[in-house]
Amino acid sequence: MKRDIELAVQPPAVARPPRRSHFTPARIGIYLFLISAALFFLVPLYVMLVTSVKPMAEIRLGNIFALPLAPTVEPWRNAWQAACTGLECEGIRGGFWNSVKITVPSVVLSIALGAVNGYALSFWRPRGANLLFAVLMIGAFIPGQVMLYPLVRALAAVELYSSLPGIVIVHIVFGMPMMTLLFRNYYAALPQELFKAARIDGGGFWRIFFALMLPMSTPVIVVALIMQVTNIWNDFLLGLVFAGSDNLPMTVQLNNIINTTTGERLYNVNMAATILTSLVPLALYFFSGRWFVRGIANGAVKG
């Protein structure tokens, strides 16, 4: 009864606050920031896209922001399947499967090794491992080109030079410092107690890694994927030097198209080829979202 009266007395005019509005000033600010940042990021892409559909005559006019007067998809077709890159004139598609053949094992192995290293360094801390890691980190600062000569000699010595395994090994070598660091620091942020619990449960090195740590690593694996797929997919120098002529990645062709020194430069084809080549990493970026899991360690420990 009393409750009813109270309800009646309550002025109906008091509007109930909306259920979590989506247009608070803060949210508008967020979108404003994101959109303006996105615009800034997109300006070069805009120029690239516009350039890629202009005929060369228009490009020579020098209005880089202008929309094409006579848009053409010829440069794209050209880039994909017709542009000459030396004697062959089949665009960049020629090396596509080679790139895949190189990228997949290199990415998988380099991430796997990085994860294992990071895990061992963070949780098991074997004697001397930190020293090795320090060496690795210093090594990361050696310009890759300086390492070419010794690596060529070393791989030639074990007869892996100019072969698919050879290039994969090289990518692993170059990827290891950053992959190890990435995983090591990620694992350092996980609750140490989980590892202890698994140890009590009798988990050995590998078991804990596969059953416990790996499932908790999805966000960092995505980051590692982003880094390695991009680096390896886009690499051309290492592929050129180590892969052997049968395995040249698509970026060698890309480089041949866009990096000519004394020949004429077809900017429109260059842009199209560049965008085409980057589609694989771009697709990865786009679809990686669901692996950026929120609160991966929620509910694990109290305190």
């Binding site: 098991w124 090594g139 942020a189």
Partner: protein, 299 residues
């Protein structure tokens, strides 16, 4: 007698050592060997091929007489500071804003990351155009009626470095965003609740609670960016070729020039060693300090 280990020994088991064999092989077989080899070459008179002679520190003396090398180091310091700071700040902001459960997250993430996927040979050229006073932004703004507008950093000796900062930040901050995002997402939701109860404004939570918790991710990002700085090459070649003059020369380009075009790997090796020692001088104290902090923090 059974399974007795000495006090103070670490946790490691046989598997842990086994698992680190590849890392040891890479660290010792690739990096240490390369460093030693490079050191050896740097005290020889090698040109295209490593030579077996010994010329003492001749290459180093030559190196430090070379004004371009000294300028490269100086440029690297200025560039490095600006680039790392800008990338961390922008990457963090992007990560934070994108973490607000915004619509179109996947799209935005891709937009911020795409520069990372593209060869700088092409995007560098585009930046060169955009920044060019006759083609790019300056021209456009002047066409809009602002006749005195000037944005010609890329042709100014004293400003050109900033244009490289802009373009490389554009390229790398997306990656920093992804890295920090992965860290952000790992933070326990309960902490957010606690902060909401405490009435702490969101930005403040990010600054005072989340940022310190992101320390591992930040340090990864820092190292990553630092390596990018030291290896900076593509962007400079694509945008300025080290110019105007030598105003945007950087050590990696110096090394590459001598390694390939100028066919003097002796000097290039000496430069690599100097670069490495410089890096070591910067990183070692950081590493040491962090190790100390970590020791206090855990175990």
């Amino acid at each position: 007698m059974v399974a007795v280990r000495r006090p103070g020994s670490s946790l490691a088991c046989f598997s842990a050592y086994l698992a680190l064999v590849p890392m040891a092989a890479v660290a010792l077989g690739a990096y240490v060997l390369t460093i030693l080899w490079t050191a050896r070459v740097s005290v020889s008179s090698s040109r295209i091929f490593p030579a077996g002679d010994f010329v003492g520190l001749g290459q180093y003396e030559r190196l430090f007489r070379n004004a371009r090398w000294l300028l490269s180091l100086e440029n690297l310091a200025v560039y490095g500071l600006l680039f790392i700071a800008a990338c961390l700040v922008l990457g963090f902001l992007l990560a934070v804003f994108i973490d607000q459960k915004v619509a179109g997250e996947g799209m935005l993430r891709t937009v911020f990351l795409y520069p990372y996927a593209m060869s700088f040979v092409a995007t560098g050229l585009v930046w060169q155009w955009i920044l060019n006073p006759e083609l790019g932004v300056q021209q456009v703004v002047r066409h809009l009626g602002f006749d005195t507008f000037a944005f010609d950093w890329i042709v100014q000796q004293d400003k050109v470095l900033y244009t490289i900062v802009i373009a490389t930040v554009w390229q790398a901050s997306g990656l920093v965003m992804a890295l920090l995002l992965s860290g952000l997402r790992g933070i326990d939701e309960e902490l957010w609740k606690a902060a909401r109860i405490d009435g702490i404004p969101k930005w403040r939570v990010y600054v005072s609670i989340v940022l310190p918790m992101l320390w591992p991710s930040l340090s990864t990002a820092f190292m990553l960016l630092f390596v990018m700085v030291v290896k900076l090459f593509d962007a400079v070649v694509a945008m300025t070729q080290g110019g105007p003059g030598t105003a945007s020369e950087v050590p990696a380009k110096f090394i590459m020039d001598y390694l390939f075009g100028r066919a003097n790997i002796g000097l290039a090796s000496a430069a690599s060693i100097v670069l490495l020692l410089t890096v070591l001088a910067i990183v070692a104290p950081l590493y040491y300090a962090r190790g100390k902090a970590a020791q206090r923090g855990r175990s």
